[in-house]
């Protein structure tokens, strides 16, 4: 390995984009490695992806959504008419748009490491955890407080008509309360912090939760209620922590990927270790890995944004 960029972790990137100084470049060209890097650079600049049939995909977009496309087109025609009306009466236009606005789906999505606070029109607040999405219809929301959630979120719901959150695993219905929903691929869990919550899933009748109670689903079926500590008034993830009780290790690793924006490689024997209890803070990847590995006896190697975990003998 050349000493040239021993402490410089962007050297090769700057070389590739032609940003090295003449001195740096001259020095690099003298090294043994230079020829090999040059070869990689040459070959990779000639690579190409598979030939895409973008016309076919476009036809499917148009075909699949013919209803929506048709609706939008009608709206555009109306917009043309409105343009004339603007000259005469701006107020009329505003009223018209309120009545005929069809683009009323509001979508919030978070990437790994991101959280988002969403203020709903009724004054309710939703805190969206990383790698999650929340969607609702702004037009019908005042009458029907319905939302779709993928991932995890904490809700503080103002009192009013029924407030319903739909997830892939089941529905949660409340009047005015605060609760946390975790609807990940491998887990569905609802915790009630104040008031009361009704939880239902495909395979089960509705279960009522009161303050300090939680319920989870296994294989689509809701299990018995159990107690948790609701005294802090907010789920631990909102304080930058993740906690697990009796879960598969894969669930912990998936949460780490979302909280640190990393890719974890572990073999199935590690992922399927059962009954893991513990947690980690969202501000330190290294200590998070240490905590998990100390309890399941594993070793980790961090390589940029990728982490490899192997089991100790």
């Amino acid at each position: 390995m050349s000493d040239l960029f021993k402490d410089d972790d962007t050297f090769l990137a700057r070389w590739l984009s032609g940003e090295l100084s003449p001195q740096e470049l001259a020095e690099f060209e003298k090294s043994d490695a230079y020829r090999e890097y040059q070869k990689i650079a040459n070959h990779t600049s000639n690579l190409d992806t598979p030939q895409w049939d973008t016309q076919k995909i476009w036809n499917q977009i148009e075909g699949d959504e013919s209803n929506i496309v048709a609706k939008k087109e009608t709206k555009l025609v109306r917009m043309g008419w409105i343009t004339y009306a603007i000259a005469g009466c701006a107020l009329l236009v505003l009223g018209y748009l309120t009545l005929f606005n069809t683009n009323s789906i509001q979508l919030h999505e978070t990437f790994a490491t991101q959280n988002e606070t969403i203020h709903l029109p009724d004054g309710s607040v939703v805190y969206l955890n990383a790698g999650s999405s929340l969607q609702y219809n702004t037009k019908t929301f005042p009458e029907q407080r319905n939302l779709d959630l993928k991932g995890e979120a904490f809700f503080e719901v103002t009192k009013g008509s029924a407030f319903k959150v739909k997830t892939d695993h089941g529905d949660v219905r409340v009047l005015g309360t605060s609760f946390n929903i975790k609807s990940r691929v491998e887990r569905f869990e609802v915790q009630c912090f104040t008031g009361s919550v009704g939880v239902s899933s495909l395979g089960s009748a509705e279960i009522q939760l009161l303050k300090g109670e939680k319920v989870e689903a296994q294989k689509g079926k809701l299990q018995n209620k159990s107690q948790f500590n609701a005294l802090e008034g907010t789920p631990v993830w909102r304080n930058g922590q993740s906690r697990f009780n009796n879960v598969l290790v894969i669930e912990v690793l998936n949460e780490m990927e979302r909280q640190f924006d990393i890719e974890i490689k572990a073999n199935p024997t590690i992922e399927n270790i059962e009954n893991y209890s513990g947690g980690f803070d969202h501000n330190n990847l290294e200590s998070a890995l240490q905590i998990v590995c100390s309890s399941i006896n594993c070793t980790y190697v961090i390589d940029g944004t990728s982490v490899r975990i192997t089991q100790n003998d």
Partner: protein
Amino acid sequence: MSFSNDTCNKIIFQKFYQDQSEGLLNYVYYKSGNTGFAEDTVQESFIRLWKNCARVPLEKAKSFLFTTATNLFRDRLKHKKVVLKFRERPVQTQTNQDPEFLMQEKEFKAKLDRVISALPEAQRITFLMNRIDKLKYREIAEILGVSQKTVEKRIHQALLVLRKEIGKI
């Protein structure tokens, strides 16, 4: 004051599709190594953009697409091994290349595909967006929502790994 949004204009939307679809297809392909999945994901992402066109201004539409595609990927394809196959752009053929040289080149190319596929996801995507889509580091940083410095580190790291792994095989 404008009430409408360019994204909802079908002609502009279609032009936007023509400009962006290939880059997005490549991106999902680098992530998943699966052409069918890439096509489905791109289709779904554009449909979602169209449904949400009123609240996504055109200058935000690109980032909306990449976020949506990333989330769709996260939902469906986890922990699958990625195998990428690349085509090669036609290069000027040099005359009188001896068969042994050609064979070596072919082997090198096969190794390269394998080693690139095995790069960690973030490095792989960043590296290929630069090499294949010819994007500048600044542009990649914008799309992936990371700093330019991070992009440069990933490229540097990718090159280190490629050289090491190709030498090893």
